[in-house]
């Protein structure tokens, strides 16, 4: 297994070597350099920042990690066992290991129609000028914080999906990002659906060993142009010692549709900003989130539904089940600009506590400048209900079976919203494995 990490960490010297080895268009190099300066200027986030108040990263040290050594290409024949693609007829797939693309394929059926899929690193060299405007949109703000800046400067092992106007890709595209123990993943995913295009992308992460550590500092940018339809799934399934810092954002244009489903099972600590911006009238976004934590995992999600245009709809449902001493934080914001009249926005977060020592913070927020809107939010946190348990037990269920069933049912309500059967099954399976691991259940 190649670990391919330069020992110099994220130093200036390492960055210069990294840049020199990449041979990229000048505009991109400039972008990287600007972000690098920003990375160096910005302080580490601290618990005094509102966004980081509940997420303590004092134990995280940049100098334990470093840039991948591009001079020794990852030679691994790692295949892993992806969850999301099992039994699915894929239109294409891509695999990265420790931030380097090790496989990328798109069936000719789609290449013939102008679809582009594969390594962003390679494709940005080939299609630089065509991709430049999308980079320059800065869907994810590179200067947002130290992690977004580092990522913008050093991203590598990225994945690109581009679907031209009106092309409907009816076979899902799959991407797997793998991390070897104490590896570094700086992956960037860029999805562009031009006007009227349609596609489904399934991406997932995995560690080569379940208890392997490492760092992911990444981004996802989804651009859904007018009338386009994207279904995007990302399943974060890193090993339980991985630090996961991610900025993820979608732009959905006029009459565009986005169904974005995230699953979060892995990592030691995850700090994710998941934003959707509805940029044109009549855009619709559905966000589904499923989290299952255990041990001392800490998953922190900042979601943002930004209504910039009128007549748009956004609907977010996050559900988390927490075991042991794990912790989740959800901060949700619905922001409605002054011009975004007739907005219909919803956000909800439900947490199911499976142990006394778990903790879920749920902080919904509204910031509304338009006056003709419908915005609602809700959140619940609770334990498995004793009366439900008793009811199931009177039907012959053991206590543990009853707990598992109730937890499965809790998540089923999210799965019901997911229109892709294979994804529903795969997530159900992944969650099911966790559910069947529920060993003890604290009696209240």
């Amino acid at each position: 297994m190649s670990t391919a990490i330069a020992s110099t960490g994220f130093s200036q010297e390492a960055f210069d070597v990294f840049l020199a080895a990449r041979d990229e268009p000048a505009w991109l190099v400039d972008m990287r350099r600007a972000a690098w300066r920003r990375f160096q200027e910005l302080p580490m986030p601290s618990v005094r920042d509102e966004e980081w108040m509940r997420t303590d990263i004092r134990l995280f040290k940049f100098d334990r990690f470093g840039l991948p050594d591009l001079s020794s290409p990852a030679s691994s024949h790692y295949v892993g066992s992806p969850l999301l693609s099992a039994g699915v007829n894929l239109g294409g797939h891509a695999v990265t290991l420790d931030g380097q693309t090790i496989a990328a394929e798109l069936s000719t059926k789609w290449t013939e129609q102008g679809v582009v899929y594969g390594s962003l690193d390679a494709l940005v060299k080939e299609y630089g000028e065509r991709l430049r405007p999308y980079f320059e949109r800065r869907v994810v703000d590179p200067f947002k914080d130290k992690f977004s800046a580092l990522h913008a400067a050093t991203w590598c092992g990225g994945t690109l999906l581009y679907v031209p106007k009106k092309v409907r890709v009816d076979e899902p595209l799959h991407a797997l990002s793998a991390l070897s123990s104490s590896g570094v993943d700086l992956g960037k995913t860029l999805v562009i659906l031009d006007e009227g295009a349609e596609a489904t992308m399934l991406s997932e992460t995995a560690s080569t060993s379940a208890d392997g550590g490492g760092l992911h500092c990444g981004s996802i940018e989804l651009i859904v142009e007018q009338g386009a339809r994207l279904r995007y799934v990302n399943l974060q399934n890193w090993g339980h010692e991985v630090w996961h810092f991610a900025h993820q954002k979608a732009h959905v244009g006029r009459e565009g549709r986005l169904q974005w489903t995230i699953g979060a099972l892995g990592s030691r600590l995850a700090k994710v900003n998941q934003h959707v911006a509805l940029t044109g009238p009549d855009a619709e976004v559905q966000v589904n989130g499923v989290m299952f934590t255990e041990g001392r995992q800490h998953l922190s999600y900042n979601t943002h539904q930004h209504h910039e245009a009128p007549y748009c709809k956004s609907d977010l449902l996050y559900k988390a089940a927490l075991q042991d001493r794990s912790r989740t934080v959800w901060r949700g914001m619905i922001k409605v600009d002054r011009d975004a009249q007739r907005t219909d926005a919803y956000q909800r977060n439900d947490n199911l506590m499976l142990s006394r020592d778990a903790r879920a913070d749920s902080i919904p927020g509204l910031e509304i400048e338009a006056d003709d809107v419908r915005c609602t939010h809700g959140s619940t946190s609770g334990r498995v209900d004793d009366q439900q348990l008793f009811y199931a037990m009177t039907r012959g269920y053991t206590r543990r079976e009853a707990v598992r069933m109730i937890v499965a049912g809790f998540f089923q309500q999210v799965f019901d919203r997911i229109t892709i059967e294979s994804v529903r099954d795969a997530l159900g399976e992944a969650i099911g494995r966790r559910v069947s691991d529920i060993k003890e259940f604290a009696t209240p």
Binding site: Q388, Y391, M393, T394, R395, G396, T398, R399, M405
Partner: protein, 275 residues
């Protein structure tokens, strides 16, 4: 030998507060018992404690199934031993389909020694049986795909309870106000179905205020509960008296228990006033 469920001098408290104060009753398989009594007299408490609800503390007395003390058994064990209760207020389990819930339940009850993860009743066999039972109960097929009691009307919940009883085929069944929430025709159907399911096979304890559920299930015994005790046991005539004339005469015949009833009601008011 007839199988029996025997309750002897049962005293039950909730949170330290005595609710049942010496209940004795023996149900044999094949018998129908009616349990009547004003609201708050302790009928549901008796049902819950027979089923093994963990909140009820038995302070004195015994519950025996075929001579075996079952007080230490949890609800799972009691269910697998053939005791069933149709809840007065069934619980919803969102996200769990009725059919899946019942397939698991049916397997567990029919194979009491089943360990978790072991095989369930084959899908086809189960589906067929479920469909037959649902047809018998005139339930829409769609019912099986709905989440357990989630968004059910009162009547739908009660019918779902009967369906569960039909699938689990218990030896002893307690029906706690299974007629409430059902319209006249539905109660008739329920009464008929219970008789068909039970036949001579089941020992049934029917908790009710009305006569309709008893129409096809003529009680061999009628018990009246007042203030946490069974104050009278009679035949079908007693049931008739109670649902036509109410409980005033019973109260007159048992002034001490009526006083306890009053006290319990006052305490309840006090407790809920505090909460």
């Amino acid at each position: 030998m007839t199988e029996t469920l025997k309750i002897k001098n049962l005293h039950v408290a909730v949170g330290g507060k005595p609710i049942l104060t010496g209940v004795t009753m023996t149900i044999r398989r094949g018998e129908v018992h009616a349990l009547m009594g004003p609201n708050g007299s302790g009928k549901s408490t008796l049902a819950g404690v027979i089923m093994g609800h963990p909140n009820y503390e038995v302070t004195e007395g015994t519950i025996e199934l075929n001579g075996k003390d079952i007080l230490e058994w949890d609800a799972t064990e009691r269910a697998r031993a053939g005791i069933f209760m149709a809840f007065q207020r069934p619980m919803a389990i969102p996200g769990v389909k009725m059919a899946d819930f019942l397939r698991h339940a049916t397997t567990n009850v029919r194979k009491p020694d089943r360990k978790e993860g072991e095989q369930l009743i084959p899908m086809r066999e189960f589906r067929k049986e479920l469909r037959d039972k649902m047809t018998q109960l005139r339930m829409d097929e769609e019912f099986a795909r709905r989440y357990v009691n989630d968004g059910f009307s009162g009547g739908e919940m009660k019918r779902a309870e009967i369906l569960q009883m039909a699938m689990l085929r218990p030896k002893f069944a307690i029906l706690d106000e299974t007629d409430s929430g059902l319209d006249v025709d539905a109660v008739k159907l329920a009464s008929q179905s219970i008789a068909e399911i039970g036949g001579a096979d089941m020992g049934i304890l029917i908790i009710t205020h009305h006569d309709r559920l008893l129409e096809h299930n003529t009680p061999d015994f009628t018990h009246v509960m007042l203030g946490g005790r069974i104050v009278e046991t009679g035949g079908v005539d007693l049931a008739r008296e109670l649902y036509t004339e109410g409980y005033d005469k019973v109260r007159q015949r048992h002034p001490e228990d009526a006083a306890v009833e009053k006290e319990m009601a006052a305490e309840k008011k006090f407790v809920s006033g505090v909460a």
